[in-house]
């Protein structure tokens, strides 16, 4: 626990961030008519800007205490333009004060700020005495950009994919099914008789992954299948739309698609009459299912229980559905992903799994709710290669934090979130940290007893 464990972040002179050219922002914004901007903004402010927007904007005392929270601010030489309140001031504050009469250049800059200089990580909520939700304000700006059609190209492409296919990566139905068969076949060599049940009704668990798993990280499906089979779980995946739990529309300000995607996802699970949704190790997908999508659908809570991989693995290990026969021997540290820790409170369960599966554990500081974001989340990594350099430079504090953990012995980072993996990989490469990153499923797969599936008796007892 690191209440006092904060280091002073050294102020190293950072080079000015590169100017990013993004057609999807520049050209789209140039096409806007002047009155179009004010008309869209006025409509949104009137229809969607309610008590939260008003109270947050009027309550902010301009004290600047939120600055300490933001990795963009800390990494960019404490440039006040990157502080949470500074970003609000440059965007929604001016938009409201000018009643939407802002220029095309303003919209371009606001778009860049809202999409690439804020991860919606909500660390600043822990530093603002009033609890002003800067992420909400930035999502409002993104919503305006979305309605104006000014959104960074790469993330808009994933949103298009969501709209057209209900998955994030343009994965076609046959490719998806083929990937499942392929992983099943591979895994059968290791565990004879292993199955990846597809569209099996009345299974207990509806297992969902995110689009990038079949696209780039198919081994995760393999590992999940091994864990499920060894544990003797009753589970299924679906071949139909709804297999992908990710939701980039949540980050582009497209609330309508956010809701549709979650509806398809819930319906897939309910159609198969499953008891609960278990999700792979992804942060934003977890929050989109447990907390965001249901709100846009008008439901206070999801229609069936949703369980993150961390909770699920913790349950399997504590119930002895899987046996850990050896411990991971390299010293590990744990990166608390925003969406499942500040957004889901899974930090202690994660440490519980580490305790059972790893020999040495080193905390990074700050940790738990106060961990720094990986700077990939909130859709920033999905804004693609044009912003990679900026993204990595804007998270020097994360590199310092990891370097400290490494100096205390850590060699492997466990990050149970896809976005965090992407973000941390880039940081490790750029700052030459020479550490490796793993998912929990990598660790558990490596440490569990795969030869001795539970006897039917033990399963009955459970």
């Amino acid at each position: 626990m690191s209440y006092w464990g904060f280091r002073k972040v050294m102020s190293v002179s950072a080079k000015a961030l590169p100017k990013v050219l993004d057609d999807s922002i520049d050209k789209a914004a140039d096409r806007l008519a002047a009155d179009q901007i004010s008309a869209v903004i006025e409509r949104l402010l009137y229809n969607e800007g309610g008590a939260r927007l008003k109270t947050y904007m009027e309550t902010c005392a301009h004290c600047g205490l939120c600055s300490d929270a933001c990795h963009h601010y800390l990494s960019n030489n404490k440039d006040p333009k990157f502080s949470p309140a500074g970003k609000v001031r440059q965007t929604i504050d001016l938009i409201i004060r000018k009643k939407g009469n802002v220029s095309i250049e303003f919209i371009k800059r606001a778009c860049e700020i809202a999409f690439t200089e804020c991860n919606l990580c909500r660390r600043c909520v822990l530093y603002c005495p009033f609890g002003i939700d800067v992420a909400y304000l930035m999502i409002f700006v993104r919503r305006i950009c979305h309605q104006l059609g000014v959104v960074p190209k790469f993330i808009q492409d994933t949103a298009h994919s969501h709209s057209a296919t209900f998955n994030q990566m343009w994965v076609k139905e046959d490719e998806w099914i083929d990937t499942l068969f392929w992983q099943e076949e591979e895994a059968r060599e290791e565990i004879p008789g292993l199955r990846i049940p597809v569209d099996q009704e009345c299974a207990e668990i509806f297992y969902s992954v995110i689009g990038p798993e079949p696209k780039f990280r198919a081994q995760l499906i393999y590992q999940a299948a091994v864990i499920m089979n060894v544990a003797g779980m009753s589970w299924t995946m679906t071949a139909k739309p709804g297999w992908d739990s990710s939701n980039m529309c949540m980050y582009t300000g497209d609330h309508e698609m956010t809701a549709r995607l979650k509806k398809v996802h819930f319906e897939a699970a309910l159609r198969l009459k499953t008891k609960r949704i278990v999700m792979g190790e992804c942060g934003h997908a977890f929050r989109s299912v447990t907390d965001v999508g249901n709100r846009y659908l008008g439901w206070k809570a999801p229609p069936l229980p949703v369980v993150h991989a961390i909770e699920f693995y913790h349950e399997l290990i504590s119930n002895k559905r899987i046996n850990i026969v050896q411990k991971f021997d390299k010293p590990v540290t744990f990166h608390d992903p925003c969406n499942i820790v500040r957004g889901g409170g899974l930090h202690e369960l994660a440490r519980g799994i580490i305790d059972k599966t790893c020999e040495h554990f080193v905390e990074m500081h700050p940790n738990r709710e106060h961990n720094y974001c990986c700077n990939a989340g909130g859709g920033i990594i999905n804004c693609g290669p044009p912003y990679t350099s900026k993204r990595v430079r804007s998270n020097r504090v994360k590199a310092d934090q990891l370097r400290d953990a490494k100096s205390w012995g850590a060699r492997t980072i466990i990050a149970p979130c896809h976005n965090c993996h992407g973000g941390l990989e880039d940081i490790i490469k750029f700052y030459q940290l020479d550490m490796d990153i793993k998912f929990f499923s990598d660790i558990i797969y490596g440490c569990m007893d795969k030869n001795h599936p539970l006897t039917t008796e033990a399963i009955k007892k459970y």
């Binding site: 929270a69 502080s83 822990l126």
Partner: protein
């Protein structure tokens, strides 16, 4: 002339400012509540008294949040400033006497020397915030003229009140300024950024409810 002004500011204008403060506060809170019910239903749906209080407590107890521990001086100044700002006017002997004369009700009052010290604490707090605003880049960036104006508005009744209480030269004028600026300050609370006084329990409470009830995490 001076007497006429004195009677106006110490008579009808006191009532006007109090009514503006009380009615304005009620109006702001209720109208915001109605707006929330209409457009931000999540605020009402997820509001949870237990978690709201949990969060509010962590933010009204000095140094109970990491943010406060990270800024020890700012926290000390901010707390002493706000405590003195609210308590001094209520428990000042002169104010208690005025109320006793008017309505024949009275309550405990502060010894003069402590009241003086508390008044100076408020003024010192204003100077601290002023300097902080001027020299810290992240605060200066957020600052516009209204921030300085609001600081001056807080300082004015305390500085002029202290002046008058010490019977320094021109204390009659100081007294008028004291009453007038106090009235303006009170009446402006619901309609300016001072409204954080009204909305703090709601913004913090809502965030506390979201973090405690939905996110299962701490927000301090």
């Amino acid at each position: 002339m001076m007497h006429d002004i004195y009677y106006i500011v110490s008579g009808p204008m006191v009532w006007i400012s109090m009514v503006l403060f009380a009615a304005g506060s009620l109006y702001r809170v209720f109208s915001m509540g109605l707006l929330a019910a209409k457009k931000d239903h999540v605020v009402i749906s997820y509001m949870n008294i237990r978690y709201a209080l949990r969060s509010i407590l962590h933010w009204i107890i000095p140094y109970a949040s990491i943010s406060m521990r990270r800024r020890p001086v700012m926290t000390a100044v901010a707390f002493s400033f706000h405590i003195c700002l609210i308590l001094t006017p209520i428990f000042l002997l002169a104010h208690v006497l005025l109320i006793k004369e008017s309505w024949n009700i009275s309550w405990w009052y502060l010894p003069d020397r402590i009241a003086d010290a508390m008044t100076l604490t408020v003024i010192a707090g204003c100077i601290f915030f002023l300097i902080r605003r001027a020299i810290r880049p992240e605060v200066r960036y957020l600052t516009d003229a209204s921030d300085y104006f609001l600081l001056a508005l807080v300082a004015a009744p305390f500085a002029s009140g202290f002046w008058a209480a010490q019977h320094w030269p021109g204390y009659n004028l100081a007294l008028v300024i004291h009453i007038l600026s106090g009235e303006v300050l009170l009446a402006s609370i619901p309609f300016t950024r001072f409204s954080h006084m009204l909305f703090f329990p709601f913004t913090r409470g809502y965030m506390g409810s979201e973090f405690g009830g939905v996110r299962k995490a701490k927000d301090w």
